[in-house]
Symmetry: C2
Subunit: 679 residues, 2 copies
């Protein structure tokens, strides 16, 4: 009796819970539509997509990648969507020669075959390498540089250890891999090895593959070392689309995002003899990994020899784009994308997410087949060459930038999807919207709402700022489009143990991640609910009081940093108060409004920095950006924050003024949007 009552109350609460952008009168119809959509995603279909797309190594530029794109094209079409492949052309170098030795020791540089995992023997695997590494043939002593972040080099200097002319060996972790050789080169190193220490994702964490989920002795993390802090996408076409036959592209020498020194990723099996050979002081405790050796700073008595050449090939990049044209506002676009290219088979990264995109599209397609049409246009995208440097999505954004700046309401992104808690990064104006989406999707393991699990990890609800690492970058940081990145994950299902290795396979995923594909279904539901609310809401469901609070919080952190650095910044509190007042006024206007879209979503464009960030004009986001020395990690209010971090005081003062003006433009845009909401 009690249970029945509480169930009734829960259902009643659900039915009555507000949905941002909808009036009370419109809720019932929307709820009915959502109920249909949420019922459609099917774990078996997600699994079938993974089996199809992750069956062969399908790195960008390869025939297998083209095959995956064609599979997706067929699936979108059979779901009833208009779909096409948009092809670009980009510099996607593959390795030619790879050798590493020290005395008699020759590094293996390849991953083992395991009978337990048939994909580990697949042919046409891209060898272990770092894309956009320089070519080189170098013999030099080794120095161990821990994670290879700037503070590590400061420590080495204090110990009197000079990395100039040396090959540095860094471990994966803490910073994005491309930052490691960049900082190494800035410090005068002539080459960089990056290895996976078992402390980070090997036996220290748990049993290694195939007994367990973690990285085995000769497992290697491939990956790009493009200097993504400057710009992303094809290195030869910064700021413009690189289309087949296009003439404008830069020469290799002109490209600024190619790594200046040779870089090679290695396994801990290959790293151990190198590290063991080092002399010099014992590394400080925080530098020591889980290899059974005494970690030393180096150098040793012997020199290592590294040889690397690449083919520097330009290759096709196939984005798959599927559209459901809006019936009322065809020129207002709601987008959802995920990449389809992988370093090898990529069951987890990215096919777990790409499969959810296909299943989300099918759900919408089922409604379309029954005659339904969204109010706004919905666009699905499966991007190519993300792994090389967000290439497919960036070229597409650059090609369509003027149209996107007008039409794009929001871009949703996913990538690898595991199981566990929903991870969220987002533009602050979508905070309330996303909380309501998470509230209305059920966690498959517990039956609780996805939101309630998230709140057990972090309270209050607040998606993180967007940095880098997946295809939202072009939309958000270059285009000024509201963005969201989502995916389920847990420690093991995060996939760290097989990340960018041949063992990121269907067999691994089935055993150690979302083997029942119920979180694949859940991701489809999260995406479907996001899209259908964004497409159907009479008022585009942005909300600015939380945005103002979030930005104020970011600014408070920057102010504290300034105090630490003994810098007095211009006072932006008045600007932030104006923003907060504008956000509150918008809520007053919103309460009486009947619709409103274009001016609401265009508020996000007001957050763009006209000249971009200092030294990297391609990045125009003022509220968050990937850090110059973190790589994927976001820096909030990066123009000011990074100037302070790099002790560039006058630039910090200048950037504060710039950001103050941004805040005022954002506030003004919000006020205008509120005033123009139809009543």
């Amino acid at each position: 009796m009690k249970l029945t009552l509480s169930l009734f109350l829960a259902v009643a609460a659900y039915a009555q819970a507000p949905i941002r952008g909808f009036s009370e009168a419109g809720l019932a119809k929307q709820r009915a539509l959502e109920a249909q959509l949420l019922a459609l995603p099917d774990p078996a279909r997600v699994e079938a997509h993974m089996k199809a797309m992750a069956s062969e190594p399908h790195h960008a530029g390869s025939p297998a990648s083209r095959k995956v794109a064609e599979y997706a094209l067929k699936e979108f079409r059979s779901a009833g969507l208009e779909a096409k492949i948009e092809t670009f052309e980009a510099l996607l170098p593959y390795p030619k020669e790879r050798a590493l030795s020290l005395g008699k020791f020759k590094a293996r540089l390849s991953e083992p075959n395991f009978a337990e995992d048939p994909d580990s023997t697949d042919k046409n695997q891209l060898p272990t390498y770092n894309a956009y590494s320089a070519d080189g043939d170098i013999t030099a002593p080794l120095v161990y540089v821990n994670y290879g972040v700037p503070e590590d080099y400061e420590y080495l200097k204090k110990q009197g250890i000079d990395v100039r002319g040396k090959i540095v060996i860094a471990r994966y972790g803490q910073s994005w891999r491309g930052v490691k050789p960049k900082v190494a080169a800035e410090n005068g190193a002539v080459a960089c090895l990056i290895y996976s220490d078992p402390k980070e994702d090997g036996y220290f964490r748990g049993d290694v593959y195939p007994a367990g989920a973690y990285r085995c002795e000769y497992g290697v993390q491939r990956g790009s070392v493009m200097d993504m802090s400057l710009y992303v996408g094809d290195p030869l076409s910064p700021g413009f689309a690189s289309e087949p036959g296009g003439q404008k592209r830069l020469s290799l020498k002109e490209a600024k995002t190619l790594m200046s020194i040779p870089v090679m990723p290695i396994s801990y099996g290959d790293a151990k003899p190198l590290l063991e050979s080092l002399g010099g002081p014992t590394a400080p405790e925080g530098w020591r990994g889980a290899l059974p050796i005494t970690y030393k700073l180096g150098p040793g008595t012997a020199s290592a020899h590294l040889k690397l050449t690449h083919d520097w090939g330009t290759r096709p990049v196939h984005n798959v784009i599927a559209t459901i044209r809006g019936s009322v506002y065809p020129d207002e676009w709601v987008l959802y994308g995920n990449h389809h290219d992988a370093w090898v088979n990529g069951a987890n990264d990215p096919i777990s997410g790409a499969s959810a995109v296909l299943e989300t599209a099918r759900a919408f397609g089922e409604l379309v087949k029954k005659g339904w049409r969204p109010q706004r246009t919905i666009v699905f995208a499966l991007w190519d060459a993300e792994e090389f440097g967000l290439v497919g999505s960036t070229e597409w954004v650059e090609k369509h930038l003027p149209e996107l700046k007008e039409k794009a309401v929001a871009y949703f992104n996913s990538d690898s999807n595991g199981k566990g808690v929903l991870g969220l990064g987002a533009t602050p104006a979508l905070n309330l919207f996303l909380e309501q989406v998470a509230r209305d999707v059920k966690d498959p393991a517990t039956g609780e709402s996805v939101l309630s699990l998230m709140l057990k990890v972090q309270k209050p609800f607040q998606p993180g700022p967007l940095g880098s690492g997946s295809d939202y970058v072009g939309f958000v940081h270059h285009g000024g489009i509201a963005g969201v990145n989502f995916g389920f994950s847990s420690a093991v299902s995060g996939g760290g143990g097989v990340y960018h290795s041949i063992f990121d396979s269907f067999a691994w995923y089935k055993r150690f991640s979302d083997g029942e594909f119920v979180y694949g279904k859940a991701l489809s539901q999260v995406a479907a609910l996001s899209l259908v609310r964004m497409s159907e809401a009479p008022i585009v469901p942005f909300e600015f009081t939380r945005a103002a609070a979030t930005i104020t919080q970011y600014w408070t952190e920057v102010e504290k940093l300034a105090v630490d650095r003994k810098v007095t910044l211009p006072d932006l509190r008045p600007n932030l108060e104006r923003l907060t007042a504008a956000a509150k006024q918008f809520e007053v206007d919103y309460a009486g409004a009947k619709g409103g879209a274009r001016e609401v979503y265009l508020t996000e464009r007001a957050l763009l920095l006209p000249d971009g960030l200092p030294g990297r004009p391609w990045y125009k986001g003022s509220v968050s950006a990937p850090g110059q020395y973190t790589g994927y990690g976001a820096k909030t209010i990066a123009g000011v924050r990074e100037s302070l971090e790099l002790n560039q005081t006058s630039q910090a003062l200048e950037q504060t003024k710039v950001f103050g003006a941004v805040l005022d433009r954002y506030a003004a845009a919000i006020v205008t949007a509120g005033q123009r909401l139809p009543r």
Copy 2:
């Protein structure tokens, strides 16, 4: 000019700096005496003593131990001191059978020979074992228990892992080794293995022996697992001296400090296959050591087999006692001791300290030969069988207890001595005295005062409370005698990497510790200055305002613990205020006094608990005691603190009353001592 002036000022400051217990008028004579003494200790002689005493394995009860005692006897005598050997008899079991296996794996249970270290091949080594382990022949599954402290078992229970009937494997560290099998047995385990994880003192810390100072793959930490929380000394003669031919001794069954289950220490070489065999959940991150394995909680599918028998022999214990009879106050004794027995050769533990005792005695002997005599009697002691459980010193204290209670002014202790900063534990009333000693001895490496280096590590100056782990225990915790423990150390010279192994050798010490023996000389200087001030000061140099402040600080910590445990203790602030007032009044009386000894040093006896600590009446110290579950680690105001920690509330309340009465007696004794100071 400037330099000369500052040098002059420094010399002048030194000459004028007060010395507790001496009037201004007496300073010059005392300084002259001290200058003679400080000039005498000689590094070459310290080295020669080490070479002589650490040349053979000389564990307690062995003929070699007798030889070391005789060497010391001869040295004391040739220095001009009256000296004798006082022999006791104690249960000192040696191992007979030792075997450990798991499936095909048979543990090695012995340390390797290295050509670099001739002592590693010495014959008559005591095999690797834990003294006072039970005999047993046990086959059972293994469970990993981390450090084997109570919280570790709580964690295992939460994971549903039952240690009852299992052999537990714990790593050395965090708690004293004897606590590990005790807690294991309390939790139902049937045997306990203790291994040295390379994280604690092996390759994780630095190069292993013989390349470096740290523990090698098959290095083993021997050691006693006597339940020292109850009482120390011969397990068969608690509270009374075990003299040769004595009749009173307990039977093995009656002895309460023997370990109830078999315990075996093993190397990480032997531990690795055992730990690798474990199944069950991955151990939490804080439990993982530095072996190249995935640490799991267990159990595994296979059972381990452990066989241990001992000879349960009673053996002689030879203390060497040397005396310089006081010319004025022969019945006021100032004592300095160090043990001479080792687990194997023991260059560091204990010969580095024992050599300094001999050299300190020689320095005094030189003055005696010139006709000088101390005012008070000075006693030097080299104790035997410390390693088994502070046996020699404890039996001696128990034998001479009535006399010591009357005559002992203070007991100074050293043990292993390395290089670096002076470590100090002491009775709070000696705080000021010790600061002045440290102020007036020079650090050999820097030429700065020993005090100024100490203050770089910890400020303000405050010696730690005395726990256990060396021969001061009987004097301080049983006899209520003011005590000090001192020794120089640094990370490497602390000797952790060879602690209680065959590699604690002259070769190791020479390379990795105080190879020039200048800190051996410095320890002699610290000891000589301590003794000559304590023996010559007209007023015994105790000081109570710092003691009152220290005890108040300890009580404040206990009060905080009570708040955490939601226990309201009787208020001891009034008692502490009375103590503080008494200490201040003593300073007034002291300022006008001309002498005074007996009542001043007897104040320390007022701190004794008449009934001892709850459940362990042998321990009578109220201010500090070894913790029941820390072993060596001190617990301050242990009667109250440990009652709170064990949630025994009514006992905590009772012990607070008892401690309040102690404080009042101490205050009264201080007032009386002040009043009776001769003027």
